[in-house]
Amino acid sequence: MKNPFTQFRKSIVWKSIFRRDNKDTQRNRARAISGNVFLHFHPVKIRESAIKYKFTWGMGGITFLLFIILFVTGVFLMFYYTPSADQAYWDVKDLEYQVPFGMFLRNLHRWSAHLMVITVMIHMFRVFMTGSYKPPRQFNWVIGVVLLLLTLLLSFTGYLTPWDQLGFWAITVGTNMAAAAPFIGFEGPFSEQIGITVYNDIRFALLGGSTVGQSALLRAYVWHCIGLPLIALIFMFYHFWRVRKDGGISGPNINNTGIN
């Protein structure tokens, strides 16, 4: 009997989706990349050392993978969560004790988030150590710094959502720092002189109030689930596109440095 999967790969349905036969030819290898909307972020051919794990450590890719995992688990978490100061904590409790696999879902989201902060930092470290920010890739490094910042902000806004003591006070400590900003924070230098108070400073704008409360929870939630992921996505795709436009993953190049 013939393997049904092999049969299926010869069917018109398979061909209608992938528009090529599955012979291992040079042309088909190229089309596997260029003919695939997800994979065509890759070049069709790539330098040997850029493939080796020991050069890139895969940290940028892992970071993107973690973003996808966080996106998926985040959507599921949103099904069970109400951004209300009365409800939020008990929703998380329900998630732990009532929702099937709720605890697992929450764990996956939290540990991926921690890991993403770590992998972003290691990715930056790798790019520095290989000198990959040097011409012509300077501007992509700048985009990378923006993405690092967005990752931290995404994690920071997510801290508040369980509405427990840990998140509440971490956000209180964090936003109190904003209150110390010169000119725009009510505790900062020179703010008194220009009439900044606790009711009109930068911290008030972040929290939607003078203390961490319902408005702060809603703001953190909206930034966390919509605002920041959207901005991060835009920067991410620009970052990936720029990698290609700047000549792919960096490597020693006679034209680049003139010394090798």
Partner: protein
């Protein structure tokens, strides 16, 4: 010892332990590859990857990506089964935990609060860090070491970056996570936290060492001149020395880049200087003004 185990097995702190392991592994790996490349250079060979062929992305790269993704996902699944994300008591604005800690990746900044006022530690330094990071490609004009691991070709850049990353960022986070207990007092990880512990310490402003009131006009002038002198000398002296030696580097760098680079460098080194002054001399402020203190 019990406390150490409690501390590193706290679910959120497990992430920090994993970070420490990963950072150590990858730092060692980066420097080993750098040294290997430097040795190749000394022997007159090309660095690794110089005589690269181009390979098909499918399947060569896609296979590795798949493998890495599977390993990461498997690891996360195990992590999520073994360890539950913590959920503390319902938030309570009238019950402040002691210590109240920011999220772990901001603990480096919170740690700086010991040495600087919030407007510097929480606002100015973060802005300088972000701006400084973004400026790196434009300040580092050394064309060597582009696209491969090396140490000998970019010693200064790597030393400065690693000092900033590993010491001023990672180490301060580790201190914030593991060494800070109630009242933000220093506890070794194996020490039991004591909520009643009080440390009697007299904070002294710089000018008070010479018997001058730091809040007087004279103290204000002296403190101000020390800060201005630090930045002034820190920025002018190297320029003067390089200029006298007719440095090629300085000419290529240009004035704008030199000013930004030397300012960022002085600000960065200012942090460990203030840390040392605070730890050894109980120094509180160098410069006291009616509006802000440094």
């Amino acid at each position: 010892m019990d406390n150490l185990l409690k501390l590193i097995s706290k679910p959120d702190n497990v992430a920090i332990v994993i970070m420490l392991i990963l950072i150590t592994v990858y730092t060692v790996w980066a420097f080993r590859q750098a040294i290997a490349n430097d040795r190749r250079k000394r022997l007159g060979k090309h660095v690794e990857g110089s005589d690269d062929k181009k390979l098909d992305t499918w399947p060569n790269l896609v296979r590795i990506e798949m493998l890495v993704a599977m390993v990461v996902i498997a690891g996360l699944i195990v992590w999520s089964i073994v360890l539950d994300a913590p959920l503390e008591e319902h938030s309570n604005p009238s019950l402040t935990p002691n210590p109240a800690k920011a999220p772990w990746y901001f603990l480096g900044l919170q740690e700086m609060l010991v040495y600087f006022d919030p407007w510097i530690a929480g606002v100015i330094f973060p802005i300088l860090i972000i701006f400084g990071l973004m400026a790196i490609p434009y300040l580092d004009i050394n064309p060597k070491g582009n696209g491969y691991y090396t140490f000998s070709e970019r010693k200064n850049a790597i030393l400065i970056f690693c000092f900033g990353f590993l010491v001023l960022w990672i180490l301060l986070i580790v201190i914030g996570v593991f060494m800070r207990g109630p009242g933000w007092l220093w506890y070794w990880p194996w020490e039991e936290w004591d909520h009643n512990r009080v440390i009697y310490k007299v904070n002294v402003d710089l000018t008070q060492y010479f018997g001058i009131d730091s809040r007087s006009l004279f103290g204000f002038l002296i403190g101000g001149s020390v800060v201005i002198l630090y930045f002034g000398l820190g920025m002018i002296l190297p320029y003067y020395i390089w200029k006298k030696r007719n440095s090629d580097f300085l000419k290529k760098l240009g004035m704008t880049r030199y000013i930004i680079l030397s300012f960022l460098f002085c600000a960065m080194i200012g942090l460990p200087i203030k840390i040392i002054l605070t730890l050894t001399l109980n120094m509180k402020y160098i410069w006291v003004t009616p509006w802000f203190n440094i």
